[in-house]
Symmetry: C2
Subunit: 420 residues, 2 copies
């Protein structure tokens, strides 16, 4: 066994065992623990392919029936085909970057490029995969400065001849990262595709494999720009392609959690049939990709609600910018508008978005909106609150007029379609 996860434990991971707890005996392959595992639970892969979790106890008995098989045998190695496009796959962590050991069936985060390819041998039939592990993080732990690092690697990958770049990413903050890359990357010659999975590869319902194959098809397509590719529905056949600035995780666990908000997805992919349908998107270009601007992380985000204290607004005074997630068309309680004005008077940009998510902010309909506008607040129009946050972080790094950039459609963050 080459797994990293059994080094500090004497359990016979990878072996076929009988595990006796009290009067019951469970037969299966003992799965290695990994950093997503609960510490006191043993996982056993049963003959029917399902995993079960069993609480560790002192009186359990383990009988090893069969030693673990060796993995990474030479003949398993995917062969690189001639003429296939080079696609970079950058792993940052999360469920998608888990590595399925086909000999034991165990899942653990890919620690190396080799593991990532072994977990997905079909990759090599579709492209020449250049895999690298950039980060190994749950996505809630990815920091804004890491968006810059990822963007820099994307530029390098294109410069070194990749035709597309895939970012394997945890789903929690994938929408924030896709928005950040959309603003940070300029003159992209080809597609940058973020992909994640909602169910780890050891579960029969896992979406990891299909999503990754769809991401490869997207990375090979004739377009440029930043996209997110995830399950379209629960049929396990098609994936949707979302614009990096318009996509949001709308379910904690379902495979079709990612939705385009205030617009349609920009494409659909049937990876098993290698079928890619895309709307009109920017073509591949013969351009030199570069980073535009950077990320200023000191931006506050406020969720507006009844009973909100004005101190919540005033406490943002050290921030470089503020995003308000207002109610309805973009409102906050009228008696808090003067506090917002104190912030804007100091020259701090304040952007208003809506907790409705769908539809557009409109500060002209009601008096409270008009007062907010008079207080100097910038309308986020139909931008997602998360995209507005990332855009403001990015805009603040530039030496141009903040309001002008915030109001300009930089990376499709405003829909063309009017919402009625």
């Amino acid at each position: 066994m080459t797994s990293d996860s059994d080094s500090n434990d004497e359990l016979p991971y990878g072996s076929l065992i009988d595990l006796k707890i009290e009067d019951r005996v469970y037969r299966g392959v003992l799965m290695p623990s990994h950093r997503f595992s609960q510490e006191d639970i043993l996982t056993l892969k049963l003959d029917n392919g399902y995993n079960i979790g069993l609480k560790k106890s002192d009186d359990m008995e383990i009988t090893v029936l069969e030693e673990p098989k060796d993995i990474h045998r030479e003949e398993d190695k995917p062969k690189k085909e001639e003429g296939l496009p080079k696609i970079s796959i950058l792993a940052t962590g999360g469920t998608i970057a888990s590595y399925v050991d086909y000999h034991t069936g165990a899942v653990h985060p890919a620690q190396s490029a080799e593991e990532m390819i072994y977990a997905n041998p079909e990759l090599a039939d579709r492209c020449v995969p250049e895999v690298d592990v950039l980060l190994s993080k749950l996505s809630e732990d990815i920091k804004p400065q890491e968006w810059e690092m990822i963007a820099e690697r994307v530029v390098e990958e294109f410069r070194s001849g990749s035709e597309g770049v895939i970012i394997a990413h945890g789903t929690d903050t994938m929408g924030y990262t896709s928005a950040a890359l959309s603003f940070l990357l300029e003159d992209l010659p080809g597609p940058v595709v973020l992909v994640g999975s909602q169910r780890s590869s050891d579960r029969p319902s896992s979406d990891a494999h299909l999503n990754l194959l769809a991401a490869v098809e997207m990375a090979k397509s004739d377009v440029s720009g930043v996209y997110v590719v995830m399950h379209q529905d629960l049929n396990d056949r098609r994936c949707s392609v979302h614009l990096g600035t318009k996509v949001r995780k709308m379910h904690t666990s379902k495979r079709d959690a990612f939705r385009s908000i205030n617009c349609e997805p920009v494409g659909w992919i049937d990876p098993l049939k290698e079928k890619v349908e895309l709307k009109e998107l920017p073509d591949r270009k013969d351009t030199e990709p570069k980073i535009r601007g950077g990320i200023v992380k000191d931006v506050a985000m406020i969720y507006v609600h009844p009973g909100m204290d004005e101190k919540v607004i005033l406490q943002t005074s050290g921030s470089k910018g503020v995003v308000l997630i207002g109610t309805g068309l973009g409102h906050i309680p009228t008696d808090l508008i003067s506090s917002v004005e104190k912030i804007t008077d100091d020259g701090t940009p304040v952007v208003i978005t809506s907790q409705c998510l769908y539809g557009t902010v409109n500060c002209n309909v009601y008096s409270s909106g008009r007062k907010l506008k008079e207080a100097g607040v910038i309308s986020g129009r139909d931008m997602l609150p998360e995209t507005a946050l990332v855009k403001l972080m990015w805009t603040l790094s530039r030496e141009e007029d903040t309001r002008a950039i915030m109001e300009k459609n930089i990376a499709g963050e405003f829909s063309e379609r009017r919402w009625v």
Copy 2:
């Protein structure tokens, strides 16, 4: 003219006029201004029923062709039918509580019960409406203490013989108020129905009238509990009935903006056919309604995002409780968990919900969730973040164990259905 809005202005509101601006003449009835109007805009109702807005200017000329007709003539008054149920309609403000003057077509907020009935004469065919104006506020300005006042009035209305109580409410925070009433009201003998509208009654696409008629049907139904009634779709025929704790405004402007989250609506109403289809809901009871608990407003709400500073968490230290709107299954960046622990160590309850909105929080899947649980954070399960906020405000008013109440299903805030 009896409108309140022309008192400080000499314009001939209600008159048929020719309005000449530069070289164009517009003919129509001059609408009174109201508090939702823009100050520098005149509104003219054209012969085709549409309103147009024209910018006031010094060189415009007005010719009065016809004086305004009297309104509130005796013969217009709706007759109270015998045997119809008494339904209370409490106006709190917002677009729904606007008053359409059928003689001029003008819209302004109902300032009196009379106006509310005149605006909706069919009410009197369906019930004996007892109308009162409690508040005249945009709903973003409704304060938590006003939820208590509304709840007290609901109790009084039932005690004085009403068979159902309708609350006409602005849509921005209607979901917060419906959640508050769900927790505050106990032993309700009949239904409490919140209703709003997304388009004011002067617009051809207004949903005000249909929603109000549907609310009356719901208020007359054989159930008890707190509900929200709003357009089901854009067909202008049916309304959905939502549980007060599970409903959220999901679009800034569309008429079908209100959606049940993590459950189906509990009913559908075709008000023109007087058809009401309801799922299994608590029956009407012969009980004495009462207020349980109160509202403690000092609860903070934090929207978790990449780059969030720990000070955002630490600054809540004066609050009585905190609701986190985490990512995914209910996560926050791992390096912020120790800050949360400082808050919980002080005995302040912290509840975690998800910005995905759909699906349920699960702190057992990933290590970051397990650490949050170890830090003493209470899982909001599949409760809406807004409902969790209101429930925590309510729970803190009670002298019982906060965690125990937060984890108990009080008013349908947790769905029975498991989300996979």
